[in-house]
């Protein structure tokens, strides 16, 4: 069930227009700050969705590439100067492509495994990345951390450039997802997700499409890492490669709905804003981690397919009931998850 043409892009246009205009409303730095982090997670969740949602390979290791992007930007600018403040943004595409290339051999090895073993291998990747960040002291500064010159933006509009760049990145991520869904690549990924061996059997270019999904996914994630590093000004190995970031991305995508266009974005907005706000207002109490874990569990158990597919399911059931009532022949049942609708 696909939306008629023109509606999807119109929705997207409204969404991005609203977000682009928000900073003009003089909302207060604290809110812009929260939105910056939310947009970071929205991009990362959308990127993860390409691999974990559409390809069916749930990676728990994306934060390793986040860290690679962060260190890449920081280390680059230890040898190059920042004048206008926009240079770090300009090298982002380089960072993304570079990480995608680095990710190619890793993907080739890691994707020889499936499902749970793949998840474990990706977790291992995270710990390897963290250990390397700690041990390669000459390069990364090790436990002492690494710094990048503070962005020379005026304090009144400090967050704006980061916000705008992230908005562009989100548009890119969603654009790639949308284009992918409508193309042969998307169809191939759906086949891989459903049954990889059969897909290979009927001639789908399984290996190529898997690697493509992996590399695009980690490239985008690395770019967010670079922006984060610039925003923080100072990075340490245990924070640049923090397993909880991987977990958050996965949770957001699951919450919103895997293999959907808007699912990860919705999930990111809901969870990140709630989490930052709750941590600020409730953080003092010990129960923060417990509450977080419980939310996680509730989402997994009650809405395992995520918000969007669950709602879509309900709508379809209502529609089908109406169809049946009208005595029309029953339509063939097609699980939306496999089809990957444009929502």
């Amino acid at each position: 069930m696909t939306a008629p043409r023109g509606l999807g892009p119109a929705r997207a246009a409204v969404f991005f227009l609203v977000l682009a205009l928000l900073p003009e409303l003089d909302l207060g730095h604290w809110l812009l700050n929260m939105l910056v982090f939310t947009l970071m997670f929205a991009v990362m969740s959308s990127a993860w969705n390409l691999l974990g949602g559409f390809a069916g390979y749930p990676s728990l290791g994306h934060v390793a590439f986040f860290g690679i992007g962060a260190y890449a930007v920081v280390l680059w600018f230890q040898h190059h100067a920042i004048h206008s403040g926009y240079e770090p943004f300009l090298i982002l595409p380089l960072v993304g492509v570079g990480t995608a290339i680095v990710g190619l051999p890793i993907a080739a090895i890691a994707m020889r495994t499936r499902a749970d073993v793949f998840a474990i291998v990706t977790i291992t990747l995270v710990f390897v990345a963290q250990t390397l960040a700690f041990n390669l002291r000459g390069v990364t500064g090790g436990a002492q951390g690494a710094s990048i010159a503070a962005a020379p933006f005026p304090s009144a509009t400090f967050e704006r450039p980061f916000y705008d760049v992230l908005l562009v990145l989100l548009a890119v991520a969603m654009g790639l997802t949308w284009a992918g869904m409508r193309s042969k690549v998307g169809l191939s990924l759906a086949a891989v997700r459903a049954d990889e061996d059969k897909a290979a059997g009927v001639g789908v270019r399984v290996q190529a499409v898997k690697l493509l999904a992996f590399c695009v996914s980690v490239g985008l994630t690395a770019m967010v890492g670079g922006i984060w590093a610039y925003y923080q000004g100072f990075i340490y190995p245990q924070f640049a490669v923090d397993p909880l970031i991987s977990v958050a991305i996965v949770l957001m995508t699951f919450l919103g709905g895997r293999a959907t266009l808007w699912g990860p974005v919705i999930g990111a907005f809901i969870l990140e804003m709630a989490q930052q706000y709750l941590a600020y207002s409730l953080g003092g109490s010990q129960f923060y981690l417990i509450a977080y874990a419980l939310v996680f569990l509730v989402v997994m158990l009650l809405m395992p397919r995520g918000i969007l597919p669950t709602i879509e399911d309900r709508l379809r059931r209502r529609r089908r009931r109406r169809l049946v009532d009208d005595s029309a022949p029953a339509s063939p049942l097609t699980p939306d998850y496999v089809k990957g609708d444009s929502r």
Binding site: A3, G28, N33, Q144, Y236, I266, G283
Partner: protein
Amino acid sequence: MAQRGDAVSVRNRSRFMQAVAAGVASAVLVAGCASGGTGTGTGSQLVIGASVSLTGDFSDSGKAVQRGYQLWADTVNASGGILGRKVQLDLVDDASSPTQVVTNYQNLINKDRVDLTFGPFSTLLTIPASQVAKRYGYAFLAPAGGGPKMFEQNLDNYFFVQPAPTIQSGDVFAAYVLSLPAGQRPTTAAYAELDDPFSSPIAENIRQKLEAAGIRTVYKQVYPSETMDLSPVMGAVAAQHPDLVVGGTQNEDAYTQVKSLVQLKFSPKFLFQSNGANSPLEFPDKVGAANTEGIMAPADWFPGSTAAGSAEFTAAYLKKYGGSAQSVDDSSAEAYAVGQLISAVAARTNKVDNATVISALHSGSWPTLLGNLSWSANGAPNGEFNLVQWQKGKLLPVYPSSVAQAPAEAPKPNWAG
């Protein structure tokens, strides 16, 4: 039929999406407009905001910091407040996360509009937080944030509230060793250092000073922070039989180092640990009370200190939180000192806004329970730590002589087992 159904659902879905977008936008708008803030400048209350780590890795020290801030606020309010204004603390938890700490100070400064800010615990958090404070012109006094990268930022609004930058905290031990007459001085030394922004640099500082004076380094090893098993490292240390062992440590590995040495049945004549050994309750509990005898560590505050306000602080602490003088965490003392500085600035200049605090603290010497503090332009304090030693279950200052309450015990007695 099918088409009508389709159209309905399509409309439902697109309406849903627009509703979501509108909902997000309006929630954001409402939240933004509702950020009234608590008033600025000369309101009847002095609101001080701080992000402390109440959960997560730094939570033990974070909670000690919270106690110190709270104690100071209570003490000051009991005698009328600051310049007639009651102090109100706005404390939030950063869960030991540098992302959250940035958000917290953004919120404290721009949403709650606090008058002043106090620092968080740990250099790792203080560095990004201080940048936020700098952007909006707030003074930033921090009880923890003495790592070298902190001062490289060259922030004029930053003041590290301890006697000296953290990596110099071991220098007092080197000074003590070099003050010994030639016959009692150690000739060989081994260094076991934790790979983190402080522990290794502290030990390295000591090593450079000792090597320059001719004390030979027979072994040095840096180990990563998740190392659970230090027996390989300490085994290698023991195999060299050094006179002196320096541990660049945090808490966990300090305990493990000592336990390893006890199991290896090797007791050096001098043992110094940059952290962990100065925890009055934890250390004897973890390594065995009798094994602590003779171990040395640095301290800025210690029970029984006679520095300005120390007795008052100790009394108030015991009254509010119980325990004994030995159980007071020096993070609480450092936090209390932060407050003392604000009181002192107010008393000397009759003003307590951020600009005044920044310019006042950059000149002269300011009395606190950590001693008299003064700073250079980048916030690095110009003083020296004290050397404390475990003697019969108590931590006593032994060097320099101006603060010593007992002679230093050397050599360190053998392990009790």
